[in-house]
């Protein structure tokens, strides 16, 4: 689902590269944790994989497409992201001006999926993330855990090949965090997508199938 080879990135003006010659893959239904100290480049790596930041070297292949995310221009990268990647963020990033169903519908709209299919897919996902009947609720009325469930539904609704999650439980209390994490793992595995979860939490990392540790010397 994700194949990274020879990936390298140096910030302009920096003495040495942030990382170089990174090589790893995430398989279907596999959940991989990415851990490492602050400033080691986890977010940059994630941005490079998502095509939000250009890499200096290497290739990033997402899903069955042969397109190299690291080499795409902005518009093509956006199109590939919309099709193949689902995102879950620490800050949830649920659009406050859209209701729950509309928020989940955004990736469907970006992929041009027939509006007639939306209600069924959204209802199904809402049920799977435990928010059945929440479709017409507004984000302001939801708790943090509920918001992150909406975000998970949104990340999965268009059946992406890869889920990128950045500290998905970072803003949640431990109990809710546990619930959300197991939901995320369960849904990713069920969807046969691959997932890369950036986390500081040992607890979260342990729950994943595999742990990649990013250090200044490279991946471990």
């Amino acid at each position: 689902m994700l194949s990274v080879t020879g990936l390298g990135k140096r910030h302009p003006g920096a003495a040495r590269p942030l990382f170089s010659e990174l090589r790893f893959a995430v398989g279907a239904g596999e959940v991989v944790a990415l851990v490492g100290e602050s400033g080691v480049g986890k977010s940059t790596l994630l941005n490079c994989i998502a095509g939000l930041e250009p890499a200096d070297t290497g290739t990033v292949l997402v899903g069955p497409d042969a397109a190299d995310m690291a080499r795409l221009d902005e518009a093509a990268a956006a199109a590939l992201r919309a099709r193949r990647i689902g995102f879950v963020f620490q800050a949830f990033h649920v659009l406050p001006t859209l209701n729950v169903a509309q928020n989940i519908a955004v990736p469907l709209l970006l992929n041009g999926i027939d509006a007639a299919e939306h209600p069924a897919r959204i209802e199904e996902l809402l049920a799977r993330v435990g928010l059945a009947g929440f479709g017409s609720r507004w984000p302001a009325s939801l708790s943090g855990g509920e918001l992150q469930r909406v975000a998970i539904a949104r990340a999965l609704v268009h059946r992406p090949s890869l889920i990128l999650a950045d500290e998905p439980t970072g803003n949640l209390d431990p109990r809710t965090a546990d619930e959300v994490l197991s939901l995320l793992l369960e849904r990713v595995r069920a969807s046969h997508a691959g997932a890369l979860i950036v986390t500081h939490s040992q607890h979260v990392a342990q729950a994943c199938d595999r742990i990649l540790a990013l250090t200044p010397e490279g991946l471990r």
Binding site: S43, N47, A50, L52, E53, E74, A75, A78, A79, L80, R81, A82, R83, I85, F87, F89, A91, H93, L95, P96, T97, L98, Q102, V106, P107, L109, L110, N111, G112, A115, P139, R154, N171
Partner: protein, 833 residues
């Protein structure tokens, strides 16, 4: 994707109802103003040309005497009538007369019914009761508006000439509102002249005649003092009458529209800033970059479309209302007071609609671009990135260069002469000057507050100063809005005040006598003059003037000829000269021309001119140029002695009267009685002055409304952008709060910041405003209206407005600060929504 766009627009409009509605309103006002002006003017012109067609017919060519004292000789009529290209040749003598002793001035049209039947049938009576025969026999026929008011037997009077005649009947097809009399041309000629000819001949050519070639073949055969006008010339003449007035109103509409664009700009910029995280999220989720640009543009358009549509409706309503109340010329006095029918046509409406939409798109352009270039990952984490200024040294050089270029450009543009009679250079210079104000804002900020940053200040003030010096985008936008709106306000106040002061002084100079009597271009009755000359009349001295007109250029409105009893060695005693007055050699004929003549015809002091007077070219010398706010299309003053020596008749139309000492009251009541009896105007100079100034104030009342609107819009823009900028800095404020700043301190910092931004805006606005005012008085007014005036800045009006604006700005930032600091600091710092 459409659906997503619609969701976002709806959410945006719902979230920011007030700002959206105001932006729409501003666009609507701009469109409405422009459209209303267009509709009213169109209707007035159509009405005017309908009436003119009815009275003039639709001749292909008019051959006319260039001045009132000239005539088209009979020999020329004979020659022209034999030309096979001439299908109809209609000679006409038109003059203004008084009917009996009633206070009524009417147009008397002497026509030849044989030719009029083909060219001006609406000026002929019905054929019942041998009307044609009675017309030839010397009966006069009256338009419906007049017929109701005159008896069967009547005397038609012009100056000393009297014609005892009778009303033969009505002119059923004459234009409804017109007061006119029609008689056979021979009878008019016999009583009122011209002796050996007619006033003009109107010609219809055979359809296949090439007009230009025909004109060229006849032009050299025409005697001096006769001009040949083609139909197109007449149209140009009519259009020229109100053109400058119209264009200036349209410029005001454009200003309103641009203000609308600015509001859209401010609204959309803050909208982009506030939603930068949302847009970043959508971008991460895969919204194409082009779509991020389009979305903001479409949102702008979503303001522009309903705004423009509303503007069209409002404009139509305004036009209908205004024509009912003020008549077709918006009080400009160019056309008759009849209220014309408003006729809304599709194409102009579509044009104004498009203009409104364009303005809204224009306003959304920069915000849209800003939205497009936001770095996604960063914006998602930290929100809207206000562009930080790059290295100061580099920016300084670039800014200085830009300021220099703009200044030189603006100055150069003020030197550009009028293009097609329009002060386009002046308008362009004004635009550059406003841009100059905006561009110099960061520089001015650094110059003013740079020292403060190095000084010791309490923490809140220090923070405010630091913030301002960083010149964040929002602050610049807020200041720009204020610069532009305050500049426009100051310039309008300055222009109006300069004009009013100049008018006041001018009235002093042109009204030396205590009393005046005026009969619009119709000679005053001879008995009146005889009565005034009697030893027992209450007047010590009477100065006569005869006002008429002549044509210098067939495409332009006629120039006034004022023949006055004036001492040619001391014209300055009667005329307000604006420059040098020269002594003209006794062998030459001096004339003194108004500033409009100088502007329009490029006439200079000392120049020799050939004026078409008395049916020939008369060589005169310009002795001086005087200021005239009364006659926009130019006036020439000649002494009565010179005019008589040239062979002209001096028939007074205007009198200046000095009563005998102690008999002022008697004189005044005598004048009033005569004026009422004769239907002429008589007034004391004080009344004329008051009336003139009150007319002036009324006609400029609309500019005060515009000033208020401009200031409100500027203030609103300031409030919106300040609020947005503070909102954007919520995180920073929260940090400060966490560091121990209390709410009052934060409030002080924010209010000080608002005050400094407003201060910069007002200062630059004032400077620009004075500059724009100078361009308006020195360039735009002389070029468009042909009058000049000295610049005068009304500090007593400008400074209070500036003070109030400053207070309002501080208030607005205070409110914004309170709202921003009301949110719990912890939540903001946690980065939630």
């Amino acid at each position: 994707m459409m659906r997503l766009g619609w969701w976002l627009i709806r959410a945006q409009f719902l979230a920011r109802r007030g700002a959206t509605a105001l932006s729409m309103l501003a666009i609507a006002l701009g469109v409405a103003l422009g459209y209303a002006i267009h509709l009213i003017n169109d209707a007035a012109l159509a009405d005017f040309s309908r009436a003119m067609k009815a009275v003039q017919g639709e001749p292909d060519v008019v051959i006319a005497a260039r001045d009132g004292a000239g005539h088209v000789p009979l020999a020329l009529i004979d020659l022209l009538s034999r030309d096979e290209a001439v299908a109809v040749l209609a000679p006409v003598i038109e003059t203004r007369v008084r009917i009996g002793d009633t206070p009524m001035l009417v147009r008397l049209i002497g026509l030849d019914p044989f030719s009029a039947a083909q060219l001006m049938p609406m000026l002929l009576p019905d054929q019942a009761n041998d009307a044609m025969g009675r017309l030839l026999d010397g009966a006069v026929f009256a338009s419906p508006a007049l017929a109701a008011k005159v008896g069967a037997d009547t005397t038609v009077i012009r100056g000393a000439a009297r014609w005892q005649t009778h009303i033969g009947g009505e002119l059923p097809a004459a234009p409804a509102g017109e007061r006119l009399l029609v008689a056979d041309i021979a009878w008019v000629q016999a009583h009122f002249g011209p002796r050996e000819g007619v006033g003009e001949i109107r010609i219809r050519l055979h359809p296949e005649t090439p007009l230009a070639a025909w004109r060229a073949s006849w032009a050299p055969k025409l005697p001096a003092g006769i001009e040949l006008r083609a139909a197109a010339d007449n149209q140009a003449r009519v259009s020229n009458i109100s053109r400058a007035y119209r264009v200036n109103l349209n410029v005001l509409a454009m200003v309103a529209l641009l203000t609308g664009a600015f509001l859209v700009f401010a609204t959309q910029l803050t909208a982009v800033a506030q939603r930068s995280t949302q847009f970043a999220l959508l971008g991460v989720l895969g919204l194409p970059p082009r779509q991020r640009l389009l979305q903001v543009l479409v949102e702008g358009l979503a303001i522009g479309v309903p705004g423009s549509a509303g503007g069209l409706l409002l404009g139509f309503g305004l036009a209908t209302g205004f024509t009912r109340v003020l008549g077709g010329d918006l009080g400009g006095g160019f056309f008759s007071a009849a209220s014309p029918e408003i006729d809304a046509q599709t194409l102009p409406a579509a044009g104004f609609f498009a203009l409104g939409c364009l303005a809204s798109l224009l306003g959304a352009l920069y915000p849209a671009w800003l939205n497009r270039i936001q770095p996604l990952a960063q914006a998602l984490k930290t929100g809207f990135a206000q562009r930080q200024r790059p290295g100061a040294g580099h920016a300084l050089g670039r800014d200085l260069l830009l300021i220099l270029v703009l200044t030189v450009g603006a100055l150069a543009l003020t030197r550009v002469p009028a293009i097609a009679d329009l002060p386009l250079g002046g308008y362009a210079a004004i635009t550059l000057l406003l841009i100059l104000g905006i561009v110099s804002a960061p520089l001015a900020t650094r110059a003013l507050f740079g020292a403060l940053a190095r000084a010791w200040l309490p923490a809140p003030q220090k923070i405010a100063v630091q913030n301002i010096l960083q010149a964040p985008l929002m602050a610049q936008v807020a200041a720009s809005g204020l610069i532009v709106s305050f500049a426009l306000t100051v310039s309008m106040v300055t222009m109006v005040s300069s004009f009013r002061t100049a008018l006041d002084q001018w009235l002093d100079a042109v009204l030396p006598a205590p009393f005046y009597m005026r009969s619009k271009a119709v000679p005053l009755p001879a008995e009146l003059l005889a009565d005034l000359a009697r030893p027992d009349s209450p007047f010590l001295r009477v100065e006569r003037m005869a006002a008429s007109s002549f044509s210098l250029d067939p495409q332009r409105p006629a120039v006034a000829l004022l023949v006055r009893e004036i001492d040619r060695r001391q014209p300055g005693a009667r005329l307000p000269f604006s420059g040098a007055v020269i002594d003209v050699a006794p062998t030459e004929i001096p004339v003194w021309v108004s500033e409009a003549m100088q502007e329009v015809h490029g006439i200079a002091v000392g120049q020799q001119l050939r004026l078409p007077l008395l049916g020939r070219d008369v060589e005169v010398t310009v002795g001086g140029i005087w200021r005239d706010y009364a006659r926009q299309f130019g006036a020439v003053v000649m002494s009565a002695d010179d005019y008589l020596a040239l062979g002209g008749h001096f028939e007074a139309t205007d009198l200046a009267l000095w009563p005998r000492p102690g008999q002022e009251a008697v004189a005044q009541s005598w004048l009033r009685g005569e004026a009422q009896r004769l239907g002429v105007e008589a007034a004391a100079s004080g009344e004329i002055r008051e009336l003139s100034l009150s007319i002036f104030d009324k006609s400029f009342a609309i500019t005060h409304a515009l000033e208020a609107a401009a200031m409100l819009i500027g203030l609103f823009g300031l409030a919106v952008t300040l609020a947005a900028s503070i909102w954007l800095r919520a995180r920073e404020l929260a940090t400060l709060a966490a560091l121990g700043f209390d709410r009052a301190m934060l409030g002080r910092a924010v209010v000080l910041e608002g005050a400094m931004i407003a201060g910069i805006g007002l200062l630059l606005g004032l400077a620009c405003g004075i500059g724009v005012g100078a361009i308006l008085t020195e360039v735009v007014n002389p070029q468009a209206f042909h009058w000049r005036m000295p610049l005068r800045v009304p500090w007593t009006q400008v400074l209070p407005v500036a003070g109030l604006t400053l207070l309002a700005a501080m208030l607005a930032s205070g409110i914004a600060a309170r709202q921003a600091t009301r949110m719990p600091a912890a939540r903001i710092l946690a980065g939630a929504q």
